[in-house]
Symmetry: C2
Subunit: 199 residues, 2 copies
DNA sequence: CGAGTTACCTTACTTGAAGTAGGTTACTAC
DNA sequence: GTAGTAACCTACTTCAAGTAAGGTAACTCG
């Protein structure tokens, strides 16, 4: 009953705690450099527990990714809800995205590692999770633009997500760039295009 | 002197051979699932040779990435050379990109794995190599658009590259999409923007 | 209460791949 | 030839992922 004595916990709570700590470790050290032993020790539990709940190291990362993606999706979804027009929706969505990643560096770091398991069984699942994001954008676009083909809309959604992901990584190297500025850059290209225009 | 007897080779040639085979293996099995023993065996050489020449598994992947990026850069650079205006340059560049990845699936697969070493010492070097691509685009843009700020141009370049990378991945899941179509999708968004326009 | 069951948890192991120490063979120049 | 170097190998260590088999706390039902 002393403070050093680790408490037993119900599974759900322990899982949450594991995911939280794993997120930190994966974000700090990177997926491949993080060891399950270390994570287990930080949680205050032995390694087989991690395997009991998540099956594999990949499974654990996947859980972290799932959580972060869900949070990101929620944030952007709420931001665009009820926007009066496409331009506003896009602007609000972009801003929400860049604010989110500047406030949740750790979760964002984890998301960036999703490419780590190309060639593993979990690769499909990662794409699946990622589709949360693109589907949201695709849905938005079909709402506002109905003249375009399904395929074209899907492609545009992928395009937007990829562009923002990369721009976000670029922002990390330029910490003078605020979420507002990032949004402006993205908006400029996305909405009006690269074609020369006045103003 | 039988066929089974492996020949000695000068270092340069052996290195090329190693990179070629490593590229295949990394592309097929994914970075983490590929083993140095397997690669060595396919090359017909023992493992320490790989380490002698590339220092680490990461070093070997890095060499593969370097090679593929260089080829990709060359292809796009040649495509845009001498374009009469920005729109043409962009179109030619995009087409060259999508043609390249459809013709060099293997090299492209390797490039996709560059995110595998986030959190490792080599991460910076990967960004460096990647900058070959963005710098090229940024240079192009400063040629054609001189009203925009340095930062804005750099951001746009990252944006374009990220968008195309992601669109390329999407194309892999939709093999009915030809390089021409991919280019058209990309061009539509990139040049004219998402804003509604007629035609 | 106390016997049985469940579910949280552990120690101690196996396996497999990255990376290395140190020696061997063949080509090259004199 | 033979000295030197560049290409190469066998056999090892190390470290982390994943597992087998069992212990212990808590909860249920008589």
């Amino acid at each position: 009953m002393t403070a050093t004595k680790r408490k037993r916990m119900p599974r759900a709570e322990r899982e949450r705690q594991m995911i939280d700590i794993a997120e930190t470790v994966f974000a700090e050290r990177g997926y491949s450099s993080a060891s399950m032993d270390d994570i287990a020790e930080l949680v205050g539990v032995s390694k087989p527990m991690l395997y009991e709940y998540f099956n594999s190291k990949e499974g654990l990362l996947l859980a972290c990714i799932r959580q972060s993606r869900a949070a990101l999706r929620l944030a952007t979804e709420q931001a665009v809800a009820g926007a009066p027009d496409a331009e506003t929706a896009l602007h609000r969505g972009l801003l929400a995205f860049f604010v989110f990643i500047s406030e949740h560096r750790q979760g964002w770091s984890v998301l960036r590692q999703e490419m780590s398991f190309i060639g593993t069984p979990a690769a499909d699942e990662v794409e699946e999770i990622r589709r949360q994001q693109t589907d949201l954008i695709a849905a938005l676009m079909s709402t506002y633009f109905d003249g375009r083909s399904e395929l074209q809309i899907e492609a545009s959604a992928e395009f937007v997500v990829g562009a923002c992901d990369r721009l976000a990584i670029w922002c990390e190297r330029h910490d003078e760039v605020t979420p507002d500025e990032a949004t402006r850059y993205a908006m400029d290209v996305l909405w009006r295009g690269l074609a020369p225009h006045d103003s």
